[in-house]
Amino acid sequence: MALLELRGVAKVYQQGRIAVPALRGIDLEVEAGEFVAIFGPSGSGKTTLLNLIGCLDKPTAGTLVFDGVELIGLDQKGLAKVRRENIGFIFQSYNLIPVLTAYENVEFAIRLLNRHDKRELRERVMEMLAAVGLEGLENRKPNELSGGQKQRVAIARALVKEPKLVLADEPTANLDSKTSEEVLEVMVKMNKELGTTFIFSTHDPRVMEYAARLVEIRDGLISSDRRRDGAVVSH
């Protein structure tokens, strides 16, 4: 069974009296461990799609099944629980908590699970920070870190709780190309090492290079879906 399964997902934004259709019937299956890029021009619906998958919003029509759970049936609290336990977010503008150090930002996510004792927790956070290449920077506050370093903290924060899925909406849009590559390499590495499923959006062709699967979206519809090796994914 696929980790994620979307059937006929549509989203219509109501802007005053005008209905803005952002997604118009998305069918998509993502298997556990995949590394998927969603690309398309600005306004094509990438962010909307990621928000729906990330349980931050509800579709106007269609069904989403995540890890065997039908998301439509969940209330705000239920969705929050799914996000807390099984989804990590990486944002375009990092969104670290400014009063917390790098270490504490990562710790925050894992604390929410209440699963680990103190020592275990510390080990995991330190390991994760080391894995994203931030050894020695644990005690820096976000304003003492570069953009690339901040995004690494965000990646560590998203991954530390070992979620089933990590969503990243244009994670490199604020970074220069060299830093972008480094950050993407970290993501690929974590995908390989931990087997975490990644879905990220971008409109930068260079970024797409890193994806194993490319889903193109235009005007709220999937226009192509193929793997790195050239195979077309059928729906």
Binding site: N51, G54, L56, D57, Q76, K77, A80, K81, V82, R83, R84, E85, I87, F89, F91, S93, N95, I97, P98, V99, L100, E107, F108, A109, R111, L112
Partner: protein
């Protein structure tokens, strides 16, 4: 625990704002403590003023007289020979006693007339119970048998009277027949008790008894003790002694007197001030939470994306506000303690401060007002400051936490 830590880190984030709001609360707390201490001090002073010039520590009177005392009746009096059989001086802490014959009168200067309270007294006894001797601004005390009176300087001024002037006291005697006491003004006093200053005319006891046709009787006997804390014990002892002589006589302690009701006013005013403090603190806190929420919109969105529940985000704001309340309350309590300490030690010279004689407003204050320690006030106002900070942050906290996470994340 992590959330609490985060909340306190947020406090440190805007030090100036935290401090500003904290200081608003601190000032409110400080003000309450100062006000309470001053009120308690004035309360104490007004007890003293009443004890010192009206009630003494104990009063002996017939219970039937006591019930109608404000009318100053001329029946249910105490025959003095009865009292001579009792050795008052044996009671614990005894310092002096004064027999008084109080009566209603109209004081006439030949042109104008004012209602007054006449008080027939034995000069030496009066001075042994009330500290009048150094309160004479002009003239001196009369002796028994003299047709002379002593009154408040203020009352004399109202009727344009000076030492040596003659006045007439119009009275009704025991049989309701009109009578007069003709007397010369021999002394003028000014005390911290406005009643004495404005309404009382002291007359030699024998002159009063004669004019009122009451024989050798008095309305009551006022007893002074060393300290007012001795009143309960002394009162019990005195009652034992009196029971043997006259069953209808009773002993009343200084705090049995109706006039000691000042404290009730103060309590009501304290509640109003506490209310204003709550309002100030509440508004300051609500304002801070809204400001902080607007500034941290993206953070709120991020935390919601991370799966924090609404109540957890509310908790963050509530903890932060409670922290401000604690800080403000603590500063206020410390400043308040310093202020009270100063007021207890040195007092404030209110009269000098406002350049007015406060006694004319019925405030029994001459010279300095001293503060009083009241630990209850500290605890109450501190608890209220913290509770209000806590409570008033809940609603704006919910407002912030209920934001749509998507819009919050995209917020600039």
């Amino acid at each position: 625990m992590f959330l609490t830590k985060l909340a306190f880190k947020n406090l440190a984030r805007h030090r100036t704002r935290t401090l500003a709001v904290g200081l608003i609360i601190a000032f409110a707390v400080f003000f309450y403590i100062m006000y309470d201490s001053l009120m308690a001090g004035m309360n104490e002073m007004s007890y003293e003023a009443i004890i010192d010039y009206e009630t003494g520590h104990l009063q002996i009177a017939a219970s039937a007289y006591w019930e109608e005392e404000e009318k100053l009746p001329l029946d249910h009096l105490i025959p003095l020979d009865l009292l001579r059989m009792t050795s008052l001086a044996e009671v614990q802490g005894y310092q002096g006693s004064s027999a008084e014959l109080s009566f209603q009168a109209r004081l006439n200067n030949g042109i104008n007339e004012l209602p007054v309270v006449g008080r027939g007294v034995v000069p030496e006894e009066l001075m042994s119970v009330f500290p009048l001797s150094d309160k004479f601004v002009e003239g001196k005390m009369f002796a028994l048998g003299e047709h002379k009176v002593v009154m408040g300087k203020r009352l004399a001024d109202l009727l344009d009277l000076d030492i040596g002037d003659f006045v007439t006291l119009l009275v009704r005697d025991k049989h309701s027949t009109f009578n007069t006491i003709e007397a010369e003004v021999s002394g003028l006093v000014h005390t911290i008790n406005p009643n004495v200053n404005n309404f009382v005319v002291y007359v030699p006891l024998d002159i009063a008894q004669e004019a009122l046709a009451v024989g050798d009787a008095v309305s009551k006997v006022v007893v002074r003790l060393e300290r007012k804390e001795q009143a309960p014990l002394a009162s019990a002892q005195l009652e034992d002694k009196l029971r043997a002589v006259a069953a209808d006589l009773a002993v009343y302690k200084w705090d049995d007197v109706d006039a000691i009701s000042f404290s009730r006013y103060a309590a009501a005013e304290n509640r109003i001030i506490l209310g204003i403090i709550l309002l100030i603190a509440g508004i300051a806190i609500i304002n801070t939470v809204i400001l902080a929420a607007l500034e941290r919109m993206r953070e709120i969105g991020t935390m919601k994306a991370m799966g924090l529940e609404v109540r957890e985000i509310v908790y963050l704001f509530v903890m932060e506000s409670t922290g401000i309340g604690l800080l403000g309350g603590l500063i206020g309590v410390v400043l308040g303690a310093l202020e009270v300490w100063y007021m207890v030690r040195h007092g404030i010279d209110f009269a000098a401060l406002v350049q007015l004689d406060m006694t004319s407003f019925g405030v029994p204050v001459v010279g300095r007002i001293y503060g009083k320690w009241n630990p209850n006030a500290f605890i109450t106002v501190f608890a209220f400051a913290v509770a209000v900070s806590f409570l008033s942050s809940i609603l704006p906290g919910y407002w912030a936490a209920a934001k749509d996470p998507i819009q919050a994340i995209q917020h600039r």
